[in-house]
């Protein structure tokens, strides 16, 4: 297998480097440049890069080839140096993932190949540890965020269906002496048919769900009418939230996707935090709190004109990922800095209505985003990886459904392989999960 990954780490404008390693490397270069360019070792050439399926122009950039074994991994390696914007990087990655025998690298896989080929400088690994750790943390967060939402429910149900199907097959193999159903294939087939259908549909869905969830999550919090929606409008420069003076206009969640210094960012406006009896509003506040917990960054807005309103609910969210805005400073003769809370990234006096004092805040926000995104994997990578796993799982389920072989142990093998692929997305499917299902569902015990 030939693997690829973004190795420049940043999704930021400037230069992005995508590294490819493995036997198909040369073909990948030919496919993206649409010509048999001469690949002189370690020589940069300027080229247009195309999507191999659609022939769409993706970017103009440099490519360099390092023949194995004198390369970083010991295999044939190529580097595409392209414009670092999010869309360009995403496009080239997608293009590579369409090529046969190419897939996006697993975490740490380049290093692993270098190690296997005795190419790894062990001292270099030490520095790697911190980076990898940060990467895992942010990936975990990303994964958690996904598992929390609608997508998470879908994934959970897939995993559940698969475990059920596997349990039926395995029970008829390992416990054939027991009083268990012997028409297992007829029970399992509908489950797999549905599962396969779901996956196919999901893959064809234009990855809408995923696009909504990628990027850094920034949540705006504050009491009703503190200026949250005004900030959202300021950031997105168009009227997305209804801004009015009646407290409690934003009852639900509003989300805007922005490009901030070249990084994808989701800005989330939430219901105003206050004690209330209104059931709908309570639900809105609950969701706001939920989004705040999962956020990468939080912006807490405090209305300095209402110091009497103890903004306790908002202040609960202060922490090392919180920026605080003291709004409506223009209307207060001498800004009351006693409001400035302790634990946060920083505190800014602003007037959101006329944009006063916003420049330093924007600087700080951008710096925070860059800081955090540098360590995060580009979402497109996660996405290509997911899609590859799903496609592969789909293939195994296809083989199951075509059932040229009716042998139960082969059907079970198809499902095991599908589970291995799906497990990368939905969480591992372990033999213990299957056994647990068997022992709760069937009375085993000869």
């Amino acid at each position: 297998m030939t693997i690829f990954a973004l190795s420049s780490g940043k999704g930021r404008a400037g230069i992005g480097v995508i590294r490819v390693s493995g036997p198909q490397t040369k073909n990948a270069v030919f496919a993206l440049t649409k010509k048999n360019i001469s690949l002189n070792p370690r020589e940069m050439t300027l080229n247009w890069f195309y999507d191999p399926d659609t022939n769409e122009k993706l970017d103009r950039g440099m490519v360099v080839f390092f023949p194995g074994p004198c390369s970083f991994t010991g295999e044939d390696v190529a580097e595409f140096h392209i414009h670092g914007g999010y869309a360009v990087v995403g496009g080239v990655m997608e293009a590579l993932s369409k090529l046969p025998n190419l897939r996006s690298a697993e975490a740490g896989e380049f290093t692993r190949r270098a190690f296997d080929n005795d190419k790894m400088d062990l001292t270099a690994v030490e520095g790697l540890a911190d980076l990898i750790n940060a990467e895992t943390q942010s990936q975990k967060k990303q994964a958690l965020r996904q598992m929390d939402g609608e997508l998470g429910d879908i994934y959970k149900s897939w995993r559940h269906q698969l475990i059920t199907a596997m349990a039926y097959l395995e029970v008829s193999i390992d416990f054939s002496e027991e009083e268990v159903p012997d028409d297992v294939t007829s029970r399992v087939t509908p489950i797999i048919k549905k599962l396969k259908g779901d996956i196919t549909k999901h893959l064809a869905d234009g990855h809408r769900g995923e696009r909504l969830r990628h990027g850094l999550q920034v949540v705006i919090l504050g009491a009703p009418n503190a200026g949250k929606s005004t900030l959202l409008n300021f950031l997105s420069q168009r009227d997305v939230a209804i801004v009015s003076d009646i407290a409690g206009t934003t009852r639900d969640i509003l989300e805007v996707h922005l490009d901030l210094s070249g990084f994808p960012v989701s800005i989330v406006d939430t219901a105003g935090l206050r004690l209330t009896g209104d059931e709908i509003e309570i639900e809105g506040i609950r969701r706001a709190e939920q989004r705040a917990r999962d956020a990468d960054l939080k912006i807490v807005i405090i209305d300095v004109l209402e110091p009497s309103v103890p903004d306790k609910l908002a202040l609960n969210h202060l922490g090392d990922n919180t920026l605080v805005l003291l709004n409506k400073c223009d209307l207060l003769a001498n800004a009351n800095h006693s409001l400035a809370p302790g634990a946060s990234i920083g505190c800014w006096d602003v007037s959101l209505k006329d944009g006063l004092g916003m420049a330093p805040f924007m600087e700080a926000l951008k710096a925070q985003v860059e800081n955090r995104m540098e360590l995060t994997e580009t979402p497109s990578l996660t996405r290509t990886r997911h899609r590859a796993s799903l496609r592969s799982a789909e293939g195994h389920l296809d083989r199951f459904m075509s059932a040229e072989h009716a042998e139960i142990e082969l059907l079970s093998e198809d499902l095991r392989l599908a589970a291995r692929d799906l497990g990368k997305i939905t969480g591992d499917v372990d033999v213990e999960d299957i056994l647990e299902k068997i022992f709760t569902e069937f009375c085993i015990g000869k």
Binding site: A107, D116, L128, L131, I132, E407, I408
Partner: protein, 628 residues
Amino acid sequence: MINFDVIVIGGGHAGCEAAAASARLGANTLLITHKIETIGEMSCNPAIGGLGKGHLVREIDALDGIMGRVADASGVQFRMLNKRKGPAVRGPRCQSDRKLYREEMQKILTNYPNLIIRQAAVDDLWIKGGDQPSVSGVITDTGEKISAARVILTTGTFLRGMIHIGDERIPAGRKSIANEIEQPAIGLSATLEKFGFNLQRLKTGTPARLNGKTIDWSVCTEQPGDQPPVPFSFMTKTIKVRQINCHITHTNEKTHDIIRKNLHKSSMYSGHIEGAGPRYCPSIEDKVVRFSDKTSHQIFLEPEGLDTDTIYPNGISTSLPVDVQEAYIRSIVGLENVEIMQPGYAIEYDFVNPQQLLATLETKKLPGLYLAGQINGTTGYEEAAAQGLMAGINAARASAGCDPFLLDRADAYIGVMIDDLVTKGTDEPYRMFTSRAEYRLKLRADNADQRLTELGIGIGLVGKDRALRFNEKISKLRLFGKILDDLKISPNEAAKYGLKINQDGVKRSAKILLSYPNIEFEQITNIWPNLREVPTEIIEQLVVDSTYSGYLERQEADIVAFRKDENLILSTSLNYNLIGGLSNEVKEKLSKAMPTTLGAAARISGVTPAALTTLLRYVKRKDKKAVA
């Protein structure tokens, strides 16, 4: 004082196989057990094999172990489970004559070269070295010290064993066939704790034994064995023991009512038992409670032998008081007038969390001490025997200064089991299932010899007779396999013989034709009549070998990747807390499991690929067993 190379404590299934393996490798071996006459005793059901378990027996046999041959010499009913499914999931099983089994085992062991057997109770380990203690022998309950640098503990359910019947509690290792109490091992538990081993409790149970003369067989369903019986051992040609039938009956609503009414009297339900029992082997109380909508459960009535009337009613193990046992058993069809010869009981015992072991089954804490069998949290004779075999081999090899002999998950079920135990540990009695093996299509009962015997010959574990027979078989398989590869036919031509294959113009070999499920060997002999001369058993094996060829080729790539990680060794003295870049959760998991290879680390749940990359810094490559 004589000095032994290896001492094995316990003459159960683990102990017998351990002692024999150690002696086969030439180590001067001593087997100490409570009673000579209980060597090879089957504590529970006199049956060997089954799914996963039968695979283990074949593997033990392939390494010239004794279990398969003893089962063949004592089996009164043989059945190949899943006969109608594919070869990978067929499991040989037999019902043994309990007495014949024991006698055959004792006969083999008492004449085993390099092996001495002694009757004694071991009370303590003899340990030397203050700061870095290691084993130097054992101490019996009479205070006698016997010296050996390697000791294998295979004490089964005896460590602080406690029998429960209703609210009665009796300290015991188990009950003998004569319904006598066998003494538990108390001192050894204390010693293990003293050296910092983490002991936990597990529970298992056994049903009452019935007098067959008082059963109304006419109302039970007969269950015959296979004809002809298929033996376990690759060395056994035919089964000579007389074959008999088993029977099946069922519990009913009345049975369940009695049990439900008396539930509070069961030791399990009155809170006397803290240890976890096996989920796949629940007591009848459990079945009635957990599956309350089932109105009937099946019971296999299995004879314990040819010249005894004792019947083992498989499926109704219990810890209810004796009078309740009698009442519910007599509510069952056919058992209305049955005489109970021995009541059922539950037993609770100590086991050592197997994460404290290396893959050789040597303990990490006390060099020279090996543990095998139920003491490691497993259940079943076959699981015990397989561990015994590996502990015996490794103890003997260590005393001869040789490298460990390990089997991995792609070699054998033995490898799957030991890896599961030492990397993941267990919190219920561990039993083998075929679903535990990710390379199930490769690890078949039929090819255990092809997978393992050569490895065994390589380390001098396999006797001359077997080696000879094995080599003959292999050369025949190679010879005829090559012939089948070389005979080729075009689809066009094949169609003339009535074979339905894709008309794609690609020539196919006889071997490939055989791998198609819809083509029989008979049809192929029409094309090449000479093939009729190939011995049947060789053809059968070749057919089975080719059944999964497509899948197996694909699996090979997985196995190569898997083995790569297995060859990257992690030191067991690694301090994970000092490694930067690992999350606290991962650190904790790794510190607990102390995996010995990168592959094992990967199998611990929660250990991420990123964490594994970090660990690359700390691995050493194993040079032997080079990987392609």
